[in-house]
């Protein structure tokens, strides 16, 4: 479903991605772990085509999105839903307008129909009666859930999660984890999450990949990652300050 081949990306003299290879199968939940500044966000932005790589390709359902025109890329993007780290809700729009944004832009539905679908998606993430509130009225956890409702509003085939549990309390983080698992079961989506929250990664992943020094250095099931022999991965998952990773 998603195939990243030899992806390189640098900013001025800072080399961020140095030949990333990653394959995600249809219906699979892939979690990419890595430290802050390891290039996880850059990788996910290349996958959805917000950034253009210096070299390499990103294949979405066998279409190389690095080589297509903008209108073709937009067609591919309609397959995606993305939950941003900061939720990235539009401040000037109400909750239901945020959730129904894609529907308003890409369908001929009336506002009434869009609001109904938005309410349904909000119910799926456990939110009721907040349709007319503004994003500034919501707590961090609620914003994440509204962001998730917006990501699933167009019934995407692929969901991308950028640090889904960062910045919220542990209980709300687990609620988000449960929702991610539920989305996978109910909607049968393929997903990529990037996180440095190991607890969350173990819970939501079918496979975990570790990004370090611009490359994927290990990939495996949560069990395989837990029993890794790789000292870098071991240090990261145990959260130790002592080891090959230096800050």
């Amino acid at each position: 479903m998603i195939k990243v081949v030899e992806l390189y990306k640098s900013f001025d003299s800072k080399k961020v991605l140095l030949g990333v290879n990653l394959e995600v199968n249809r219906g699979e939940s892939m979690v990419v772990i890595g430290g802050s500044g390891s290039g996880k966000s850059v990788l996910i932005k290349n996958i959805i085509g917000i950034m253009t790589p210096d070299r390499g390709s990103v294949l979405i359902a066998n279409v190389d999105i690095t080589k297509i025109k903008e209108n073709e890329l937009n067609e591919v993007r309609k397959k995606f839903g993305m939950l941003f780290q900061s939720s990235a809700l539009f401040d000037s729009l109400s909750v239901w307008e945020n959730v129904g944004f894609g529907l308003r832009q890409h369908t001929k539905m009336s506002d009434k129909e869009i609001k109904e679908i938005s309410s349904e998606k909000l119910r799926m993430v456990g939110l009721v009666g907040i349709e007319d509130l503004m994003p500034s009225d919501l707590s961090g956890g609620m914003r994440k859930r509204v962001g998730l409702a917006r990501a699933i509003a167009m019934n995407p085939e692929i969901l991308l999660y950028d640090e889904p549990t960062t910045g919220i309390d542990p209980i709300m983080a687990d609620v988000i984890n449960e929702l991610i698992i539920e989305m996978k079961k109910k909607l049968k989506v393929t997903s990529i999450a990037i996180t440095h929250d190991i607890v969350s990664a173990y819970k939501i992943a079918d496979r975990i990949a570790m990004l370090y020094n611009g490359e994927i250095i290990e990939i495996g099931t949560p069990e395989e990652i837990k029993n890794t022999k790789n000292p870098v991965v071991k240090q990261f998952i145990t959260g130790s300050a002592v080891g090959p990773i230096t800050v």
Binding site: K45, I50, E75, R77, F84, S86, A88, F90, G102, Q105
Partner: protein, 256 residues
């Protein structure tokens, strides 16, 4: 020797990059402007924001500008018994120069700052990235409506500023300084030509375009959180005002 070139380059390069960025954005706007759908809802929202919500401050500025023009020209012209031309000076100054320029500067400070701050905040909080992920081009969705609002509402506000400025001048000239109202009106009508008004409106339209373009460019390229948004907003207002004042001379030389 090379140091000098290096020094000059360090100043010139960022400037040229900015100019290039603005030109590319302008071409991008033109490309998206003609592509359906029109996005009427967003355009109306911006017409309201840039035009209607700037009306009060434009009117207050214009009325006092007209009044002070009458007062000053009366004082000056009285010295050689030409105070009957007070109405002419007010009308020509307002329509040819002060109407469009003052309206431009007010809109740059009000709506231009708002555009840069809003787009800048959207940029640093990933809202613009979110638009891309939802297959929506931010130039089409965010910038085209603001560009149209600038180009259309600046002339509209300038018409109001011209009228209210002339009314302000009449009030000071006739009511306070007790000039002859018939003479005041006839002197205004005799010397004011239609070309004075529409040349002023062409200028206003250009200023509106410049304000939207510069403010959107600055906001769209903001980086680095709250500080970046602040810098983008300040930059947008300063550069817009400078552009208005500099281009005003060249437009005046070309049009009149």
């Amino acid at each position: 020797m090379f140091r000098i070139f290096e020094l000059i380059g360090s100043y010139v390069k960022p400037f040229l990059l900015e100019i290039g960025g603005v030109v590319l954005l302008f071409m991008n706007i033109l490309r998206w402007l003609v592509r359906p759908p029109l996005g009427l809802r967003n355009i109306l929202k911006q017409l309201l924001e840039v035009g209607v919500r700037s009306t009060t401050v434009v009117l207050i500025t214009a009325v006092f500008t007209g009044m002070v023009l009458a007062l000053q020209s009366y004082t000056g012209f009285k010295r050689f018994n030409a105070e009957a031309f007070m109405g002419t000076v007010v009308a020509l100054s307002m329509t040819r120069e002060l109407g469009p320029v003052l309206t431009g500067i007010i809109v740059a400070g009000r709506a231009g700052a708002a555009m840069a701050a809003e787009l800048g905040t959207m940029k640093v909080t990933e809202q613009i990235d979110a638009l891309y992920t939802m297959a929506t081009n931010p130039v089409k969705y965010l910038i085209v409506p603001r560009f149209l609002a600038g180009v259309l509402m600046l002339p509209a506000l300038t018409v109001l500023a011209d009228i209210i400025g002339i009314v302000g001048g009449y009030f000071v000239g006739v009511v306070i300084l007790e000039s002859n109202p018939t003479v005041y009106i006839s002197r205004t009508k005799d010397y004011l030509e239609l070309s004075d008004i529409y040349h002023g409106l062409i200028k206003a339209s250009f200023f509106g375009m410049a304000i939207s373009l510069i403010s959107c460019y600055k906001g769209f390229n903001a980086e680095g959180g709250a500080e970046g948004v602040g810098k983008a907003t300040t930059g947008a207002v300063v550069i817009s005002c400078m552009t208005i004042l500099i281009s005003d001379y060249f437009l005046s030389a070309w049009l009149f």
